[in-house]
Symmetry: C2
Subunit: 153 residues, 2 copies
């Protein structure tokens, strides 16, 4: 991946990026859930055993937030930052305490803007995987990407 900033012209379908890893703790799962998703299966291991998860799991939004941090810190070095306008998110397996996550990204599609010549939209598929290779989250994102400024072309 290197440190060179990526502009719209540098992205093409099929490109792959892999982030660093991050291990989430039970304390972090509790902390996020208390603040943003206070439900028993995210807050209390004993209570979570009686739910469909069979034990404590992280909030899907916690998975999403950790995915974003991995992308910002060690994902594709998109010029101007990672500016999402939306996407399709799927939580296919729970994130559990002690899971070590990483994100694998693939460029799906590039669409130059017709109204804003200085930018375009990239579709990126971001699979967040745990230490067993299981996909815990897929986020097919639409992000704004700047074109390379003419003076630096």
């Amino acid at each position: 991946m290197g440190d060179t900033l990526l502009y719209l012209e540098d992205l093409q379908p099929g490109q792959h990026f892999v982030t660093a890893t991050y291990t989430v703790t039970e304390a972090e799962i509790f902390s996020f859930a208390r603040e943003f998703d206070p439900q028993p299966f995210h807050l209390d291991d004993a209570a979570a055993r009686h739910t469909i998860f069979g034990g404590l799991v992280g909030s899907g939004w916690h998975t999403a937030a950790l995915t974003m941090r991995l992308l910002v810190q060690s994902g594709p070095p998109v010029a101007g930052g990672i500016l999402g306008v939306g996407g399709e998110i799927t939580w296919s397996a729970p994130m559990r305490p002690g899971d070590t996550l990483h994100v694998e990204s693939e460029v799906i599609e590039i669409t130059p803007s017709r109204s804003r010549p200085e930018r375009g939209i990239a579709r990126l598929r971001n699979d967040t995987r745990n230490q067993r290779g299981e996909t815990v989250q897929t986020f097919v994102a639409r992000i704004i990407v700047l074109r390379r400024p003419a003076s630096r072309a």
Copy 2:
């Protein structure tokens, strides 16, 4: 809405729910960004003025997390909790410091599970709006909803 728990049989397309409100502070926007989305437009008002946002904005994932808290605390009282399996998220306007958010939800579709007779999937459109009525986020969620247990039917 009341306090009565909602089972799959209680939901039908067109039902509406409205949450309480929540006002997000600049300190909360900084705190979330430092932990999960450390980019200049979420971390530094002066730096954010030179980005496409023209000033500090909250992370889209912060909007999503605050939306979840509003739904859990004052949204539709779904039996068994709000268990998302995924959905389509769109950030149509930035969340800025001092914004007062609420969530308006509408049931879109109910699909009983064929393999798991005790549950089904509801599609819920959740519009997160600010104090000016602008939609900052739309999340069309797919959530697991339990059928009413036979003993309580």
